[in-house]
Symmetry: D2
Subunit: 92 residues, 4 copies
């Protein structure tokens, strides 16, 4: 993993944990639903930024190698990227 | 808050915390990016289910009251629901 | 349907048709994929605004009536709103 | 553009145009909002499938070449893919 991306991804994951604990506390306290939802939707957005970092790392490392190797490795790279793109569009 | 929804929402929030700690560990271990992304996207989807519970609770409690009160209260309810709908479509 | 919302929704639907014909032409011309995707993603976003208008109309008309009627009508209103919220989060 | 993908993308774009004209007619007729919304959300999902086809074509053609060329070309490829990923997560 690229050192700078790893550092930023871990930082972001820890912030997310804190935000999630915040939402848990808001539910326990029975805060106003719209306030809890606003927080929860902010976490979903924040996860989107984490995912973008992970996609960037993937493109700059594994995908670069898989495309260089060509053949089955490249096929696998394309399939996995399409799977990630598809999953990122379905957040039930 | 409706007791059954509160219980399910808290249960879900705690599962989400565990999943998020899992992602953090995967980043620390430098697992394969696509595996980390798959986990992270599963969390986004799981947050979607939590949000749906919170929207359900909101509709059955506050919104019901706000619509009954009418006037400014109903206006506020409509504005807030539209804001939640909009935010849920923007997860940058 | 609220007259002003209907007018704006129709206006938006017609713009969307034009944008979609544009994407079709770009595919026929084999334009650069990223340019086609940027257009296509703009259409998805534009559809989001149309949906928001429709949700607003729904809340201000049918939902107001269904909540006033109470009982099964209100149940139906809640179920339908949750269905719309869920579908709007799954755009495979 | 890969011939088979082009054919499928055009087919899908034409279906989308028909669906969009359907939504326009439903708004004109003042159909039930939830029915219009269900159609409109189906179009958003259908656009997601078109986008996936375009991403697939892009990865198999331009990105493969850009990664092979390396240097600035590869940088541009990574930046564009991240931009597409980001836009696809923001559908206001």
């Amino acid at each position: 993993m690229i050192a700078d991306i790893k550092k930023r991804a871990l930082h972001r994951a820890r912030i997310l944990e804190g935000q999630l604990r915040g939402v848990e506390k808001m539910i326990e306290n029975e805060d106003y639903c719209v306030d809890i939802l606003t927080q929860s939707l902010a976490i979903q957005k924040s996860l989107g930024s984490l995912n973008k970092l992970l996609v960037e790392n993937h493109l700059r490392t594994h995908v670069a190698e898989q495309f260089e190797a060509g053949g089955d490795d490249r096929e696998r790279a394309v399939d996995e990227l399409l799977k990630v793109f598809e999953l990122s569009n379905n957040r039930g």
